[in-house]
Structures are given as structure tokens and as C-alpha cells.
Symmetry: C2
Subunit: 613 residues, 2 copies
């Protein structure tokens, strides 16, 4: 016969444990992973392990003299008990005030920022879910529904000065009556942003809004864990491939501002619905959205004016963090759910760089670190040892590394050539998925250009040399035959044209010129770099040897490189759920110095030099 | 030849004065009605009269040694001067930090609440207009537009931690460039709710949302002065004459909630546009809305659920104050302009009673005062000397006093009989505008019933007695001929039927029963009342002698009555613009005890007795 167990429900956590009769509430709380503060070790003398049990006096052993000594008459009247004194007799529901918990216990992420909050702890959560039970309305308790919720939050959890908008209050009367006066309250600062059924939990959506690609992450808002993720092309590409042409489009056609905004909002909305469905959760549970992107992207998203951003002196309408109701932005999210856009640094260094810097911890120790987030716009940041300086800039590297403007270029998908070797016997290629080649992606095109230079097909100025093996006349200029028609998936030969080479040289030249300017501004040489962090999908998959060979990145030992994946997206995830991360982002946006390349004296010289191979 | 005068502009007030050269800035500020703090009387030793003059050092006399002694290097660098030391040489623009002003100087309204804020002072304003000039964007000052506004507000006015939503930021870039980097910032708490052209000033809209009538007041938000006012019938009447029937309509047809809300929002919107046009101001300048009404009215307005309010135990979805964006409610107001609905007391004692209590200062001194706001729902409040108690209830008096349900009833408009005397020679009537009678309004019907009882046409039970002068058989019962057909504007005789008398007896019985219950709850007699305050249009125009004669109100000396007009509307006006009033309203809503008539033991007895004449 199985041992009889008593069920103990701990609110507001919605945690239930089974435990044998006679144990104390301290034992049950420990079993539930909710360690209660107890300086006296359970003797009842410190009075810290206060819990609240209402309307079920028989579920626990009688009040001890220790409790009647320690607790005030008001505390006893509110049903407060010392958990170390109360033994379990029957199933019971217990409210745990947060002051009774050992704070910091739920710590999962190390904080290197010196903030007093620890990521992942209760106090650090942007959205706090409180599960509460309120006294039912009767002719002798005529308080409003919202008012009884506010009273419980104040009395049990010490949350005062709260408000809830009518949009949120509308949900409350039905929920309370359907779930027997139990409800999950989502609190954000002093605002109740939603009411949910008792067993729901808040989800968040982190978005990396790139010029070319939109990446969406569905996140557990109580601990920052990514539950699902998905990407899509940025549909604004139809209105201009780069940010300048999109901004000019909107400037000339102000009525199109809403169209461009709704295009990306639609993608974020679609992916949010898809991801919540994938993990079998409800869209109602989504309680916060954080979107990072370059300054132009976030301006277009929020329909902030871009006229002054597209022309000198290129100033944002707002560099400060922006926040608005998700519903106002057009997302299918209800209640008072907010979209948060972290601060940007300048007109061309946006919240994405702030998020990337945060996630890769640049500037959080005293080292000289270069961070590069390669995309259609490439942002570069440098921290200098011994100075606490963070200096950043942005360069228009274009979409060539994403396969655009390259004749046989494609995104990094099945069939894309990702590695190339030019052996004496001829070219050898490796494709994603190892099937026949369809085209060539960013890492492949860097490989092929490095190899073409190594074997002498390209000279130092990047010109294709006639008479070299595989070089043949093309429509406009010489071309290099990489994969013959018979070996491709399409039946068409894959060729590298002079135009392709020029596109890549322009892109890599822009990035290297930016790096050189940053090093010059900080009075550093490449060899001084303790670390180079390569962020973004392309930066993660590129081959360091060939990237160094074409001087896309500085030539320092490969062990000093760290390829970190989508750091901007990861920063968005952190800023989404954690106050510590949000504060750190505000601090970074203030601290990062911006270099405007177009007015930097040495820029043209650096750019011209960086085009060489 | 006119004396040469120097123009001095004081910001953020946008005040300009002309003054002869050689005067100090203290003199100019006094002339502008902006008295600067100066404990030392102008000697320069107290250092309190700090003002800021940027970019115009030549407009003032050189820095004195007193100034260089008193002001820090940072203060001098920010362009700070001591106004008592700086003499005027040329036209100049001066920023006055609020800490330099004698606070309380703009006091207009006496505060009896013991709050530290004084109504009408700068700190007390709900919406504060800051007129600022920001440094222009250049290639050497790349801050965002919002960021330069935030910096000036922090540096000059000490306002930090501010935010502005994208909806508001959208307006900023064009405004700054159109008005040479000058802008009016409307600050509400820590939120910038709108940006306006430099010379605009914030307006507010106060609304008394009655069951039968909507009254709208356009108010200067910087001092609470009413600029224009207008009323309209409540269009929800088409969905039910009383609140219960409207709530049941919405409960049975949830999709109609938006329809009923939009009906009143449409009236408020129309009147707001009309009133701003009347005073030749822009709708853009409207920066705050405050709406009071009974609990059902504000629930229907905000589309809060009413199912639980229409049935026992009659609890509101929210008694707490509610706030939402005006645009979300459907008002044609832009930016982050908010609608504020003050707290209510209970399901049938709403924000209108709170506003009425506030405006008529009930409970702000130690007297026994009865406040009555007669309407379709009549709210009654009693303060008891020596106890600090405030007790309130509500009774369903119906719309008879507004002319509804009375055969020849009409609103108090031209042609309405407002006074009646039954002389031995026959009835004498006085109409509004003194023209031929069209119908009879509330005060007239009370007169006629009191007179009919006095001369014996009605007995103590309110039955029309056959054989009395003017009494004739009607369709269903006996009738009394008040005005013969030949003397009316319509050519139809004006008659008072038994049904009319019954309606008025029901209404006045409900009110008197409520008064009796309140007196009983507080253990008082009518003679203990120091004052009876009659609020609302009807309460203001009724004739005290006949109202006492039919026992609509207690029989105490007439000098103890005070007829105060639309006190609920005036309370809404105060809560609209003043923090002091808003805090007092929150305090009142907490303090007022509510008596639920339907469960009060003696109610039926009181009601039955109150029906007698």
C-alpha cells in the first residue's frame, strides 16, 4: 500500500508537492525547490519563515507558543504561520510571501556587471507571475474584482501602488468566477499587464530584426530559456535592399511608413503564432516582446520619422529605449503586453549592437576585444584594456556575404557550396548537405576568392588573370569555372565573375576599413587584440583561415577568435526577461562612443587600402 | 519718443515682458508674474534666484564677483546667473528652473485637505507644459531628437527618468525643425504625453457622464479655469432608460458593449471639438480627460464587464481609478493623452459622488452635512460631526424629475413650467423664458404636487380627490387641469394625472427613504444636520419650500440649505488638473462607507413611510 501523502500547493508559484504527514512546511517548501529563509535553523526564534494559510486551520498542527510569541496579533489574524513550526495534517494551500524566500537562490546566470540583481532571480524578472486566490464577492464583501486582487497582492506580496488598464480588467470578472477566485496576475513594474488562468505562465518573444533576415525566439519569461526559434527573410527587401533606399522610399512616400512597418510586424506575428503552437502554448501567455535591430530598422518598425536619419547629420528621432503596446504595433497580443526596443547608440549603430555587446560580454572585463557582427550593415565594437573605453562604428558592407549581388550566390541552405579548395587537380567543393551544388554561400565565396588569390588566378588588386587554369571569357569579363554544368544540381555551370570578386572586395574592404579606423581611434595595432568575437550567422560559419587570407578580419592567431552565433538575438533574449540585462543595455548605450565614418579623416585612405588582396 | 525697452522671454512659461535697460532679471521676472525665491532680498548672498542664459552672454552685465563666489564652475558653464546680479543690456531669453520659483505663489484655491501640494501651483499640475529650446543636431552633436529633449529637461529642469512612446516621438523631428529647435513638452508624471508647437498650451476635458445627460467642460490645464462648457442627452437612453436595463442589454448582447461605449464617446468627442473651436484652440492641445459618472456609466464607458454589477452582490469589475489612452477609447485625441476615471465607492456609488463630495468639501470640516445629488440615480452622502465618518448610498429615483414618465414632462428648457401657485382664483404658472407653456419640468412638478396637497386636491396618500376645482375625469383616472389648451404653446391642455403624481411620489419616496436610512445608520435626526447640500441641475433649481412641503428633503430651516450646481462636474474639473484633488478623490473613495439599501433591515419600512404626502 503506498504511503499516504499530503498535497501541499505553494502559491504564487503554482508548485505542488506530496509529502508524508507530520513533516513541517519548511520540509515541504524545500521539496518544492522553494528554500525559505531560516537563520535559526528551524527553532522558531528568527521568525523569518513566515507563510500564510487562510481558511484551512485544521490542515496544520495548532499554533505553538513560539508562534504566538513571535507573530503579532495582526499576523495571526492574516493566517500567518512559521513554516518551521507548522506540521502537515491535511492537504493545504500555502501562500509564500517573497520576503520569506532566500533571494538569489534561483540564480542561473553569472552576473559580471556588478548589479545587485541577479539574472533569473525573482526580483530580476521583467514580468512577474503571481498566482493568487482572492476572497469571493458576497453581500458582506462588496469590493470590486480588481480591488480584491490589489488587496491580496498588497497584503501577501507587499506589492502596492499597482494599476491595471480597463483592457486588462475586462478579462478579470469571468476568470475569477470560472477558476473559483484563483487567477494568475502578470505584473510588470507597477502595472498589471494581464490576467491569465491559474496554471498559465508568461512567455516572451525576442526578435533580431535584420535588414535581410528576421529571427524570432520564444522564451520562458520566468527563466530566459529559449523554447523554440525560427527565421524568415525581411519582407521589406521589396522596398529596397539596404536601409538607405528603404528610408528614402518612406521619406518620399510617407503613407508607406505603415506598410513597411506592418510587413515586418506581420512576420513577427506569424512566427510568434507558429512558435507558440510548436510548443503547445497559448498566444494569451505571451507577455513581453523585445526587438533589436539597427537604428533604421527599429525606426521603420516603430514608424518613427526617418527623413533626418537618411541625411546628414544622420540623427535618430530617438536613441533612447522605446516602448509601446504590442497591440498598437499591430501584433495579435492582448492586454497591456509591451514591445520593448532597447536604446541605440547613434544613427547607424543600433540596439542590435548593444544587444550583441551585452551577450558577448564585451567590456565586462579588462581586455582588448574586437566584436564584429557581419550583416548587410556590419557593426564593429572595440573595448580597450585599461581604459574602460568602448568605441563602435557601422559600415555598409552590403548583402554580398548573404549571397546577394553574386551571380550564383545563395543563402546558407542545402546545396550551397560552403567550402572550396583549389587543388592542382582542380577545384574541390563541399556543399551543405553534401548533395550536388546549387550555388555558393558566403563562407564558400570567401574560400574561393582566397584560393583564387593563393593559386594566382587573382592578382593583389583582385583582377582575374587570363591564361590561368579554369579562367575563361565571360559575357562582360573573364570568369572562373568552379563547378562544371554536369556536376551541379541545376545543370548550369557555377562560375565566379570579375563582378562577383569586386562585390566581395567592396564588402570586405568596408569591414576592414572600419576595423582599421577603430584600431587607429584607440591607438592600437591588430596584434594588441586579446580576442576577436565574430557574431551573426555568417560570422559563425565562415572559415577563419580564408577570412584572414583575404583580410576580411585581422591576421592574429586563430585561437584568439570566438565565433558566437547570433549574439544580437541572444542579447535580445536577455533584455527581454531580465532587469539586469535591461539596465546593462541602457548603460552600454550611454557608454559606447560612436565614430561617424563619413567624417573620420583617415577613412578614405583606409578604405582604398583595404580593397587589396 | 517711447522709452527703449528690452524684451525678456521667460521659459518654460513662454512669458514675455518689456522693461527698461539696467533693470535686473529679478525685476523683469517680477513684472512677468514669476516671483523668484530670494531670501537675502537681492544681495546675492542666498544664491536662490538662479536662472539660465545660454548663448547670449552680451545680453546681460558681466558676472559679478558675488556670482563667481556663489556659483560653482559647473553652474557657470551651464550659463547660470543670479537674477539679482544680472542687469539687462539687450533682448534675452531666460530659462527659469522651477527650484528658483517661490512655490505656492500661483495659489488660487484654498486646500483644506492638509496635503503638501497646493492646487494651482506648478507641482500640483497633472500635466506640466515645458517650453524648451534644444541645441540643433550637427555632425558634432549626433544625439537623437528625443535624447536632446530629455537632456535639456534633465539639465535645466531636473526631470529625469522620463519616457516617450513612439506615437509621441513621431511628432518631434518635424516640430523641432519647423520651430527652430523650440518645442513645448507636455509632461505627465514621468511620461511625455505630447509635443506641441512652442506657443501651444495644454487644455483638459472634464466630463460628468450622467445616466440621462452628458456635461462636458473645456478647462485650462495650467490653472483649472473653465473656458467653455456644453451638455447633451446621453444617447445610451435608446438602450434603456435606467442603468439596470442598459447593463442587462449588454449582458445579454456582449457585442453591444462597444456600441454603448462608442455612443457616449461620440458625444464627448463631438463636444470636445465644438468647445475647442468655440475658444479658437486646437484639438492637439487637449492633453487630459477626466470622466466621472455612476459606477454603471463608467463601466459601460470603459467596456468593463457589467454582468456581476447587475446582479447580487452587485460588485464592480474595478472600483479603483482607471486610466487608458484617449485614442484607445475612441476619442480623436492623439499622442499619449490619457482618460482618467476616478475611483468609485461601490457598485452603485460611483466616481460622480466622489467628485461631488470633493467639490462641495463635505467631510473637510467637522460638521454634520448631508449631500444629495438628484438624478436618475440619486446619490446621498452624510458626514457626521465628531466622528470623521462619511456614509453614502444610492437610490433609484428614476428620471421623473427630469420630466420623463410625466405626461407633459419636459427638460428645463424654454417653455417649461418651473413654478406653480394654486391661488383661489385658479392656477398661476411661471415658465422658463416667460412664454406660453410647452410642458412642465422637475421644479414645476414638485410645486404643483405640493400645491395640490396644500389646497386639498391630493390627500395624504397622494390620491386625486374628485369634486375639487380643476379635477376632471381622464382616460384612466382623475386628472387636474393646470393650463387650459388656449393658454399653451401647443394648443393642448397641460394636465396632471394620477400616474404623474404616483411617479413623483415613488421618486421622492426613494430619496427620502435613503436620507432616513443614512440618518438612522449615523444615529442622527434631521434636526442635527448643520447643512444640506443640493447638487446637480435639478437640485439647484428646485424650490426649497415646495420640496420641503412634499418631503423630498428634510424639513430644516431653509438657511441651512446650499444649492451648489453641478458639483460632480466641478469635482471632475478639479480632479482633471490637480494632483491634490486626485489624491483627495482616492482618499474619499477609501473612506466613504457604503450602505447597500437592499440589505438594510429598515429600508422597506422607511420607503413605505416616505411615500406619504
Amino acid at each position: 500500500m503506498p504511503e499516504h501523502k499530503i498535497r501541499v500547493d505553494f502559491e504564487p508559484f503554482g508548485k505542488r508537492v506530496g509529502i508524508a504527514p507530520g513533516h513541517t512546511l519548511v520540509d515541504a517548501a524545500r521539496l518544492a525547490g522553494l528554500p525559505l529563509t531560516s537563520d535559526c535553523g528551524g527553532g522558531g526564534s528568527c521568525g523569518q519563515c513566515v507563510v500564510i494559510v487562510r481558511d484551512q486551520p485544521d490542515a496544520l498542527s495548532a499554533l505553538t507558543t513560539t508562534e504566538t510569541d513571535i507573530l503579532s496579533a495582526e499576523q495571526l489574524q492574516l493566517g500567518q504561520r512559521l513554516a518551521c513550526q507548522a506540521e502537515l495534517l491535511q492537504d493545504v494551500k500555502v501562500d509564500v510571501p517573497f520576503f520569506s524566500l532566500i533571494t538569489g537562490q534561483r540564480l542561473q546566470v553569472e552576473s559580471a556587471t556588478g548589479e545587485d540583481l541577479l539574472p533569473g532571480t525573482w526580483d530580476d524578472l521583467i514580468v512577474k507571475p503571481y498566482q493568487i486566490t482572492v476572497p469571493p464577492a458576497t453581500l458582506h464583501d462588496l469590493r470590486g474584482d480588481l480591488d480584491r486582487v490589489l488587496d491580496v497582492l498588497a497584503e501577501i506580496h507587499g506589492c502596492t501602488g499597482l494599476s491595471a488598464s480597463p483592457m486588462v480588467v475586462r478579462l478579470l470578472p469571468d476568470l475569477l468566477r470560472q477558476y473559483h477566485w484563483q487567477v494568475k496576475v502578470l505584473l510588470r513594474g507597477s502595472v498589471i499587464i494581464n490576467f491569465l488562468p491559474p496554471n498559465a505562465y508568461p512567455l516572451g518573444v525576442a526578435v533580431d530584426l535584420g535588414t535581410t533576415k528576421v529571427a524570432v525566439y520564444l522564451v520562458d519569461l520566468t527563466n530566459g530559456v529559449v523554447l523554440a526559434a525560427e527565421g524568415r527573410p525581411n519582407p521589406q527587401i521589396g522596398y529596397g535592399e539596404d536601409v538607405i533606399s528603404r528610408m528614402i522610399y518612406v521619406k518620399n512616400k510617407p503613407e508607406s511608413a505603415a506598410v513597411l512597418s506592418q510587413a515586418v510586424v506581420g512576420v513577427i506575428d506569424e512566427l510568434t503564432q507558429l512558435l507558440t503552437a510548436q510548443v503547445q502554448r497559448s498566444l494569451q501567455e505571451v507577455a513581453e516582446v523585445c526587438i533589436v535591430g539597427n537604428t533604421a530598422m527599429t525606426h521603420l518598425l516603430l514608424q518613427l520619422p526617418v527623413g533626418q536619419l537618411a541625411m546628414a547629420p544622420y540623427v535618430p528621432a530617438a536613441a533612447a529605449a522605446q516602448e509601446m503596446r504590442a497591440a498598437d504595433l499591430g501584433l495579435s497580443l492582448h492586454g497591456d503586453v509591451r514591445v520593448y526596443v532597447p536604446p541605440c547608440v547613434a544613427g547607424y549603430v543600433g540596439a542590435d549592437l548593444v544587444a550583441m555587446t551585452l551577450a558577448s560580454a564585451i567590456g565586462q572585463d579588462d581586455r582588448t576585444v574586437l566584436g564584429i557582427d557581419i550583416g548587410t550593415n556590419t557593426e564593429i565594437i572595440l573595448s580597450k584594456r585599461g581604459t574602460r573605453r568602448l568605441v563602435a562604428l557601422s559600415c555598409a558592407s552590403g548583402p554580398a556575404f548573404e549571397g546577394a549581388h553574386i551571380r550564383f550566390g545563395m543563402r546558407a541552405a542545402a546545396g550551397a557550396i560552403e567550402r572550396v579548395w583549389l587543388n592542382p587537380e582542380g577545384p574541390v567543393v563541399q556543399t551543405i548537405g553534401n548533395g550536388p551544388a546549387v550555388g555558393i554561400c558566403g563562407s564558400g565565396i570567401i574560400d574561393v576568392i582566397a584560393e583564387m588569390r593563393r593559386v594566382g588566378i587573382l592578382n593583389t588588386h583582385g583582377r582575374i588573370q587570363a591564361g590561368q587554369p579554369g579562367v575563361q571569357p565571360g559575357v562582360h569579363s573573364l570568369e572562373f569555372l568552379l563547378v562544371p554544368a554536369a556536376q551541379t544540381a541545376t545543370g548550369e555551370a557555377i562560375l565566379i565573375s570579375q563582378h562577383d570578386v569586386d562585390e566581395i572586395l567592396l564588402a570586405k574592404g568596408a569591414i576592414m576599413a572600419g576595423i582599421q579606423v577603430l584600431l587607429a581611434v584607440c591607438d592600437l595595432q591588430a596584434q594588441d587584440l586579446d580576442e576577436i568575437i565574430l557574431a551573426g550567422a555568417f560570422g559563425t560559419y565562415l572559415n577563419l583561415d580564408t577570412a584572414i587570407a583575404i583580410s576580411l578580419v585581422p591576421n592574429i592567431p586563430q585561437e584568439r577568435f570566438r565565433q558566437v552565433g547570433n549574439a544580437a538575438g541572444d542579447g535580445a533574449r536577455q533584455i527581454l526577461f531580465s532587469h539586469t540585462a535591461r539596465k546593462r543595455a541602457l548603460q552600454l548605450a550611454r557608454e559606447i562612443e560612436y565614430v561617424e565614418l563619413t567624417v573620420y579623416p583617415g577613412f578614405r585612405k583606409h578604405y582604398a587600402r583595404s580593397m587589396w588582396l
